[in-house]
């Protein structure tokens, strides 16, 4: 599978996956049949920006604006997309 992430791409949750905040865990999770993934803070910030319209570039720009002091977050964000796509949590639309 070609997992190259482009700035113009739009991603959303894969079918039958659900993204939600877990109060008891104090983190975001992705739920799917027979499983769950606990997301660390940065991954949760990426996922919650996927509204079906935002491109990868939009997400990067928004996160840079929200966290101006963070160093080189772009490569972290792209890495997060690559991981999520390779795991089947996200699909391109």
């Amino acid at each position: 599978m070609d997992n190259k992430i482009e700035h113009a791409d739009v991603y959303t949750l894969a079918h039958h996956h659900r993204f939600q905040w877990e109060e008891a865990q104090q983190n975001y999770v992705i739920l799917f049949p027979e499983g769950m993934v606990k997301l660390h803070g940065g991954a949760g910030e990426v996922l919650k920006r996927l509204d079906g319209k935002a491109t990868v570039g939009d997400v990067v720009a928004d996160l840079k604006a929200t966290f101006p002091d963070a160093d080189d977050i772009e490569s972290d964000i792209i890495g997060m997309f690559e991981l999520a796509v390779s795991k089947g949590w996200l699909r391109k639309i």
Partner: protein, 394 residues
């Protein structure tokens, strides 16, 4: 990758009951020879929790962090309030799963479940052949299961199939995978039989040989390696053929909680087979206390309960000594190392079981199917001979 037995990512190990299994009834139209349900289930068919009690249990468990909900049984659809339970589960934010034989799933009910917010349905399948499906379940349900699979698909659900693997279907692994693919399955669990409850009584009749297991695993790996096959496969390993035990339930009271039909709160499916244990019940115990502090849940949590050879074992954190129920059922000592382990002084019991399964005198004995009549016989002590004969119980 998630294991079907615990339903959650292995990375998540903090002590919240992330997975709640609601065994809402032990009544069942199926009579499967490999059922893990307690053989004395007939005791628990008259005192099921009410809808209101289930809803309260769901609320309490959610507060503790439960998020994956399995609605199981018996056959859950024998209750007419599954729709109400599903609506509440959705409201509370559970990811809910109906674990069913398919019997009782009508167009009307599946639509109501969908409207109520049920997230997925796990359907049990048994074989590609009608003969073996009907034999091992002691029912005529082959056609029905094909129909239900199509219904699940047409309602836009992810298709999750569960196939319990035993001697009678292990030779059809390739065909079973092809059938699942043809039905449009998204996930398939190939659950090698674990020997508890009814499957323990029928162990010599169900256990495949090592050669059969190896071949089945090779076929599964070939199927997985083919990039055209999109279906995700969970392969539950047959622990008798391993030399290290499974990390049962991902640890006692670590991530998994069961509430049974009568309200007992358990850390694993077969915990009630252990001696001298008093399990809390949702009717009279706070669920938070049950999970965090009750003597039953703290008894085997972690490693401090262990004795040799587990307590000084360098691998003890990997498998937590294996399964307490299996240790007790086979050695008579719930704190012994799981006899699957090659370091266990009881490993010969597993080797004997493997040998017995090849012994035609044992393996050709009739199967004891899971039904009310046989459960009453178990309660009356009539099947003790069978266990004594087939298993090396003390």
């Amino acid at each position: 990758m998630a294991q079907p037995n615990n339903g959650v990512s292995s990375a998540v190990t903090h002590t919240q009951p992330l997975w709640l299994l609601a065994e809402v009834t032990y009544r069942c139209p199926m009579h499967c020879a490999f059922c893990y349900n307690p053989t004395d289930y007939d005791k628990h068919t008259q005192n099921e929790l009410t809808t209101e009690q289930w809803i309260q249990a769901l609320r309490d468990a959610r507060k503790l962090g439960a998020i994956q909900l399995g609605i199981s049984g018996g056959e859950p659809l024998l209750r007419d309030d599954i729709e109400d339970i599903v609506i509440e589960a959705k409201k509370l934010g559970y990811y809910s799963n109906l674990i069913t034989s398919g019997v009782g799933l009508t167009e009307q009910r599946i639509q109501a479940l969908k409207d109520g917010g049920l997230d997925h349905i796990q359907l049990s399948m048994h074989d590609i052949t009608e003969d073996i499906n009907n034999f091992i379940t002691n029912t005529k349900t082959f056609q029905l299961k094909q129909k239900v699979a199509a219904m699940i698909k047409s309602h836009g659900y992810p298709m999750v199939l569960n196939v319990v693997i035993h001697r009678y279907n292990i030779g059809h692994m390739k065909e079973i995978l092809e059938m699942a693919e043809a039905l449009g399955a998204d996930y398939i669990e190939l659950a090698n039989t674990q020997y508890y409850g009814w499957s323990l009584i029928n162990r010599s009749q169900l256990m495949p040989t090592k050669e059969q297991v190896d071949e089945a695993e090779a076929i599964t790996n070939t199927f997985r390696a083919n990039p055209n096959n999109k279906m995700k496969i969970f392969f539950v390993v047959p622990d008798y053929y391993s030399d290290r035990p499974k990390k049962c339930m991902n640890g006692w009271g670590e991530v998994f909680m069961i509430v049974t039909a009568n309200g007992d709160v358990l850390p694993c499916h077969s915990a009630r087979s252990l001696p001298n244990m008093k399990f809390p019940n949702v009717r009279d115990s706070d669920l938070g206390w049950s999970w965090k502090e009750s003597p039953a849940f703290t008894k085997y949590r972690g490693t401090s309960w262990m004795k040799e050879p587990c307590s000084s074992c360098s691998e003890k954190e990997n498998d937590l000594g294996g399964c307490r129920c299996q240790a007790f059922l086979l050695t008579g000592d719930a704190e012994a190392a799981d006899p699957v382990c090659s370091k266990s002084p009881h490993r010969h019991l597993i080797d004997k079981a493997i040998e017995d399964a090849r012994n035609p005198v044992f393996s050709e004995q009739p199967i004891v199917f899971r039904n009310d009549k046989n459960s009453k016989r178990v309660i009356a002590g009539e099947l003790n001979d069978r266990l004594d004969e087939f298993h090396s119980l003390p």
